[in-house]
């Protein structure tokens, strides 16, 4: 249950929930715009260097990218189930599901790490460090810079999300949440879906041509 002082400030748990939801939506809007800058840069340079970008895309490991897409989508479904469980007053199950989703997030990061290691070995590094010989430097180094930025900032969001889901999972398992008080779990869920949706844009533009 939320602390009493808080409900007093709000009048009711319903109003508090409404504010929390609104705050989360606004936050999500700012996140979308944060990525919008990068997507714009990607669009501009893709139209300036169409061939180089396509060639650079072909060097991406589509297998690992697709694997990660599956992992993330699955985790998103697991989180949705967790929210459902908590709302249905089964916080134990909800907690377990949240922790499972956090684990999937860790797996995602591990796969991403493997990919980065490949790129480093091949020389597909950002900016000045670019050593990859298969694709011409001008343009391709931009592709790789944008690749690292998009996936790196996304990975940062995944890392934060793993932390959030873990905390929520532990607290849910301890019985903090339930049918009467599910807002934090719902908000955590919204954040995780955002992470998932951003990836669903990053994945096709970087891996599929």
């Amino acid at each position: 249950m939320p602390p009493e002082a808080v409900t007093e400030h709000w009048g009711s748990e319903g109003a508090r929930r409404q504010a929390a939801y609104l705050g989360m939506w606004v936050f999500i809007a700012t996140e979308v715009l944060l990525f919008a800058g990068l997507f714009t840069a990607y669009g501009v340079y893709r139209s300036v260097y169409p061939e180089v970008f396509r060639a650079a895309q072909l060097t991406m490991d589509v297998g690992l990218g697709t694997l990660n897409t599956f992992i993330l989508v699955t985790s998103s479904i697991v989180v949705a189930l967790a929210v459902h469980a908590v709302r249905g007053d089964r916080p134990g199950l909800g907690g377990a599901l949240l922790l499972a989703a956090a684990l999937l997030g860790v797996v995602f990061l591990a796969v991403k790490g493997v990919e980065y290691a490949h790129h480093v070995k091949e020389g597909g590094l950002p900016g000045d460090a670019y050593r990859f010989t298969e694709v011409p430097r001008v343009g391709a180094s931009l592709f790789f810079t944008l690749y690292y930025l998009l996936t790196g900032i996304h990975a940062l969001h995944v890392t934060v999300g793993v932390g959030v889901l873990t905390v929520l999972g532990v607290r849910s398992a301890a019985g903090t949440f339930g049918a009467g008080y599910a807002t934090p779990v719902e908000l955590g869920g919204m954040y995780w879906h955002l992470v998932d949706v951003v990836w669903l844009f990053v994945y096709p533009i970087l891996y599929l041509s």
């Binding site: 400030h9 504010a19 700012t30 990525f35 180094s141």
Partner: protein
């Protein structure tokens, strides 16, 4: 049992610690006020140094590199550390909950976090200044900003962090206005200041993330040579300008919209009239917030963008002027046949209206490509944005400071001194910036430490005006500091204002209201014109 209520938010805990850990929106507002005032002082000292350097041709006070650093730090401090947070974060925080009958903002802890982020960002930027300081100008144009050897990185990072503070504040206000209005306080009864802060918050949360990303890209370019904005590496420096102005043009409205809110309040309070066409003021606020996102290209007429693009951006820019004109008409309509009290907040308000009108009309002229090419990057542009930003934001800030000083401190200030300072400031202001229009028209480029001798008389006039301004600010600081201790006790509503914020005690108690306020009438409704003004 709760402990007996403290008299006011000021006496509820007197330790420094109780301030540093407070969740009270009023204390957070006061902290922001102190911080922004401090940076206003810092930025002002830089400004005076610049004006002194320009007193004579050749070297007067500092070398060219020092001059470049100085105007960069002046711009960065004034824009990001003073003008953007000053009214929303300081007065918005203090007043919005009071005006909508709430006990606090929606997310008090987030609110406190935004103070700390601001302090962190400011410290990082200041550290950059001590590391030698950037010399790029506040706009950080690439490719210069990615190649110069000065300390650009900490300044970029500082601004980046402050951006988060801005976003949190805006998010908080949006949620507060949506969910915490007292029962019966409908949208169309909201005080105009609240509407202005609401419109500003929308711009803040939508535009600031883009700026954050651009600054990050420039930082990356400096660190790993990413090449996004560097033509030598296949990148495009103009992309920077597009992304930068996509933020920074709306950002100029982040600076001016809250001012318009202050002015709307002051105009009603000091003419003792209901706002003339309340709805038009509201709609034009939202209109400015919206159109502001489609005008950024008017900063790039000289960049070789397409003629069609320039025309379209020019036309969109002129739309902003229409919305602004609607506001000016509404204020004039409110003043017309009002029972005018020429108190210092109203003097600043009149100054504001003049500067906004004059500066805005020049903006319309700039939006035509032909005139723009003549004036672009000259002192004329410097004068335009100072007219609008200083003439508007600073005037409104001073109006707010005087109007709400009794609310915040519970004390009155000496009215005659305040009126004198206001007149001094308005004239100092005109003397500072009108010569700059003339300089620009004669071809004096902006951001130069040196100039041919025939420009000197106008520069001297401008510097003289700046000194008048400095005296005015010193005077204000003096009598306000004095009044904090020795001013007459204000009482709940010394101006006899019908603004909603005056329904709580002055200074307000910790949770704002002892009984929930009711809202049978709209804001600024003056039943009789007979109530005398105090103070």
């Amino acid at each position: 049992m709760s402990p007996p209520a403290a008299e006011s938010y000021l006496t509820d805990g007197r330790t420094v610690w109780s301030w540093l850990t407070t969740h009270d929106h009023k204390r957070i507002g006061v902290m922001f006020l102190g911080l922004t005032l401090f940076f206003f002082l810092v930025g002002g000292v830089f400004a005076l140094a610049l004006r002194i350097e320009l007193l004579t041709p050749g070297r007067t006070l500092m070398g060219h590199l020092a001059y470049n650093r100085m105007f960069t730090l002046h711009g960065v401090t004034m824009v990001w550390l003073f003008m953007i947070p000053a009214i929303p974060s300081a007065f918005g925080n203090f007043l919005v909950p009071l005006m909508i009958g709430a006990r606090d903002v929606a997310f008090p802890r987030l609110n406190l976090a935004s103070v700390y982020l601001y302090v962190l960002g400011a410290s990082v930027a200041l550290w950059g200044m001590f590391e030698g300081g950037a010399d790029t100008g506040w706009t950080f144009y690439t490719p210069y900003s990615t190649t110069t050897g000065t300390a650009v990185l900490p300044v970029l990072m500082g601004v980046f962090i402050i951006g988060f503070s801005t976003i949190l504040t805006g998010l908080n206000f949006i949620a507060t206005v949506h969910t915490l209005r007292a029962p019966g306080l409908t949208w169309m009864k909201l005080p105009l200041f609240v509407w202005a802060i609401y419109g500003t918050s929308i711009i803040q949360v939508l535009a600031t993330p883009v700026l954050g990303m651009v600054l990050l890209l420039v930082a990356l370019e400096r660190v790993v040579g990413a090449g996004i904005f560097d033509p030598a590496r296949g990148g495009d420096p103009l992309l920077f300008q597009h992304l930068f102005w996509f933020y920074s043009h709306p950002a100029v409205y982040i600076m001016v919209l809250p001012s318009m809110g202050v002015i709307s309040e002051a105009v009603c309070a000091f003419s003792r009239k209901n706002a003339f066409s309340y709805r038009m003021i509201v709609y034009s606020t939202l209109g400015i917030a919206f159109v502001g996102f489609f005008t950024w290209g008017h900063h790039m007429f000289a960049s070789g963008q397409s003629t069609f693009g320039s025309g379209a951006f020019g036309a969109m820019s002129m739309l902003v002027a229409i919305f602004t004109a609607i506001k000016i008409f509404s204020w004039l309509g409110t003043l017309y046949r009002g029972s005018i009290a020429l108190e210092s907040p109203l003097l600043y308000t009149l100054g504001f209206m003049f500067f906004l009108f004059f500066g805005g009309m020049i903006g319309v002229a700039y939006s035509t490509t032909s005139l723009n090419l003549h004036w672009h990057d000259t002192y004329s542009v410097v004068a335009h944005f100072h007219f609008i930003m200083v003439g508007a934001t600073v005037m409104a800030f001073l109006a707010a400071l005087h109007y709400w000083f009794p609310k915040m401190s519970g004390r009155c200030f000496p009215a005659k001194l305040a009126n004198g300072a206001a007149v001094l400031i308005i004239f100092g202001f005109i003397a500072t910036f009108v010569p700059q229009f003339l300089l620009g028209n004669l071809g004096m480029p902006r951001r130069y430490a040196d100039y041919p001798p025939h420009f000197q008389s106008l520069h001297v006039a401008s510097t003289a005006g700046a000194s008048l301004l400095a005296f005015g600010f010193l005077a204000i600081a003096g009598y306000l500091a004095w009044s904090l201790r020795y001013g007459a006790v204000a009482g709940a509503n010394p101006w006899g204002s019908e603004g909603f914020e005056w329904r709580s005690a002055s200074p307000p108690p910790t949770h704002n209201f002892s009984t929930p306020p009711e809202y049978p009438t709209g804001p600024h409704e003056y039943a009789s014109e007979e109530v005398p003004h105090a103070a």
